[in-house]
């Protein structure tokens, strides 16, 4: 029943272990691709908690991702924060911002929720452009020169080191991934599933559905902010383009492609999209056409997303 169960637990830990081992095997190009994929997959996994497990489609996550991104970037650039302190600020601010954004937007539902979250996010985006004397707007800024290595006694954590980048990405992905597993198999997750399916009935069972949706929103938003913070630390770039609506649509796309409401779907979807874009853009400039066609074909073959369809046909135990 609603217990994590040993098979899913082993399965999830194996995936994390495989990703850990991969760094010793992969050639440099794929090593850096996977670093990127894991940060973005963490973002998508957080998004999936809201879309896949609670049934709420947001187009405002770029704002939450950017809250983490800018928290790290601005505190390091202007206040000279150490990476860990900057990361803590990012976690707290993205939790606060997602609670506020959720508290307002969750008063709406369906398409209205989609639009209201998008509007807030666009306002945030325009704000980062407006204050370009601070944020450097679209052009953005780089923090690598301020990222001093952290001394851990025996060894140093140097943010310029690709091994550090890889494992930082793996860490944030693992957190998001395991939280998704928890949500999919916990009593809390069962309530979210109930709200997704029949909110009226959930309310009549005595659940304060607004509050539970807010919890899911805050969890999802904080993971988005955490991913944004790690993105800033790993890629060292902070710019407005990451607050643009494009970056709200991305996790939606990755999640749907991989399978909404599956724990592994966001990883699979993100990996596929990042690679497809990379491969196609290397031989044609109109690569988005190819990406679009690929997406249509995949969705035709896997209407519930790749992992969602696999689960339906073969592996019904997949969380």
């Amino acid at each position: 029943m609603r217990e994590i169960g040993s098979l899913p637990a082993i399965f999830h830990l194996s995936i994390i272990a495989a990703l850990f081992v991969a760094q010793f095997i992969l050639p440099p190009f794929h090593h850096s691709m996977l670093t990127r994929i894991m940060v973005l997959a963490a973002y998508a996994s957080g998004y999936n908690i809201l879309l896949g497990y609670t049934g709420l489609m947001s187009l405002g996550h770029a704002m939450l991702f950017s809250t983490g991104l800018y928290s790290v970037g601005l505190t390091i650039l202007y206040l000279g924060f150490e990476p860990l302190a900057a990361f803590t600020v990012a976690l707290i601010s993205s939790l606060v911002i997602s609670l506020l954004l959720g508290a307002i937007t969750l008063r709406t539902s369906g398409v209205f929720f989609l639009i209201v979250t998008m509007i807030f996010s666009q306002v945030f985006y325009l704000t980062t452009l407006y204050f370009n004397n601070i944020t450097y707007g679209d052009q953005g800024f780089v923090i690598s020169q301020y990222l001093h290595p952290i001394n851990m006694g025996f060894f140093q954590i140097d943010f310029a080191d690709r091994t550090v980048k890889y494992n930082l990405s793996l860490l944030v992905f693992s957190v998001a991934f395991l939280l998704s597993l928890y949500v999919s198999r916990s009593p809390l997750g069962l309530v979210l599933a109930a709200i997704k399916e029949n909110p009226d009935r959930a309310e009549m069972l005595g659940y304060n559905t607004y509050r539970y949706k807010l919890i899911a929103f805050a969890l999802s938003g904080t993971i988005a902010g955490m991913s944004g913070a790690v993105y800033a630390l790993v890629f060292s770039y902070i710019g407005s383009s990451l607050a643009f609506i494009h970056n709200s649509i991305n996790p939606l796309l990755w999640t749907l492609l991989g399978g909404a409401g599956t724990t592994t779907g966001p990883l699979v979807g993100t990996m596929l999209m990042v690679y497809v874009i990379d491969v196609t853009s290397s031989f044609t400039e109109s690569y988005l056409v190819v990406v679009g066609i690929a997406l249509i074909l995949i969705i035709l073959g896997f209407p519930k997303g790749i992992v969602g369809s696999i689960r339906k046909r073969w592996l019904t135990w997949l969380p």
């Binding site: 809390l188 069972l205 005595g206």
Partner: protein, 248 residues
């Protein structure tokens, strides 16, 4: 002097609901005594479902008050009323169709036993009580099926099992026998009878023989108002009731 014992379990005062020009419920004063079965009957459009929706909190009244155990609950949201023991089962079966039968009941039980985000939940008690709730309606063998895959009558039983798992103080059943076979109707009638020993039941029902068998008191509604009220034997004789409802 009214003692605590005299306070009715539920009381509505001048309860009204207007939908864009239509007055569905007109100044209804209803008093429910503890641990009795009250049936509300009346023709379609009499305002019965609207009235119980006001009581359960799914709808907000246009005017009037609702008291539960002497406390004004008029402005409480539906989920608060549910956690206070006012449990409503929908007229149309309402489940979580893609979750299993067991998970449907677990949702009811864990709401009653849990707090907050349900971290410190005693899962053993949740499972034990969920199993018990399913046994009560005889669905224990279907526990692992998807709720949506059950035949209609069993879905209705599951719906009621979920309501019972909440251990209601006031159970509102909106046409529980609609669309059921004779055997299933008998099962539900027996269940309600058993329950009524320690639960107050408000029953909307079209099946007159079920009403006569179960109800201690009947309220007849027509056109949004209470037309007559009394024990079954009296209501049956009431000429006005016969003319508007029993079709005599």
């Amino acid at each position: 002097m009214a003692s605590v014992e005299d306070v009715p379990l539920l009381e509505t005062q001048g309860l009204s609901k207007r939908f864009a020009g239509l007055e569905a419920v007109k100044s209804v004063d209803l008093r429910l005594e503890k641990e009795t079965v009250r049936a509300i009957i009346g023709p379609n459009g009499a305002g019965k479902t609207t009235l119980v929706n006001l009581i359960s909190g799914r709808l907000k009244p246009t005017s009037g008050k609702i008291y539960y155990r002497g406390v004004d609950i008029t402005n409480l949201p539906a989920h608060k009323r549910a956690s206070m023991g006012i449990v409503y089962t929908f007229q149309i079966v309402s489940l979580f169709p893609s979750l299993t039968v067991f998970e449907n009941v677990v949702l009811a039980v864990q709401r009653r036993l849990g707090r907050g985000i349900l971290l410190r939940l005693d899962r053993d008690s949740v499972y034990r009580q969920s199993e018990k709730a399913l046994e009560l309606v005889g669905l224990e063998d279907e526990a692992e099926l998807e709720a949506g895959a059950l035949p209609y009558g069993h879905q209705r039983l599951l719906d009621i099992a979920m309501a019972l798992a909440l251990q209601p103080v006031l159970l509102i059943l909106d046409e529980p026998t609609q669309g059921l076979s004779a055997g299933e109707i008998e099962k539900i009638t027996d269940l309600v009878k058993k329950l009524s020993k320690n639960t107050t039941i408000l029953l909307i029902e079209h099946n007159i023989s079920v009403v006569m068998e179960l109800a201690h008191k009947i309220t007849v509604m027509a056109d949004g108002s209470i037309l007559a009220e009394g024990p079954p034997s009296e209501v049956e004789k009431d000429v006005r009731v016969q003319s508007i409802y029993l079709g005599v």
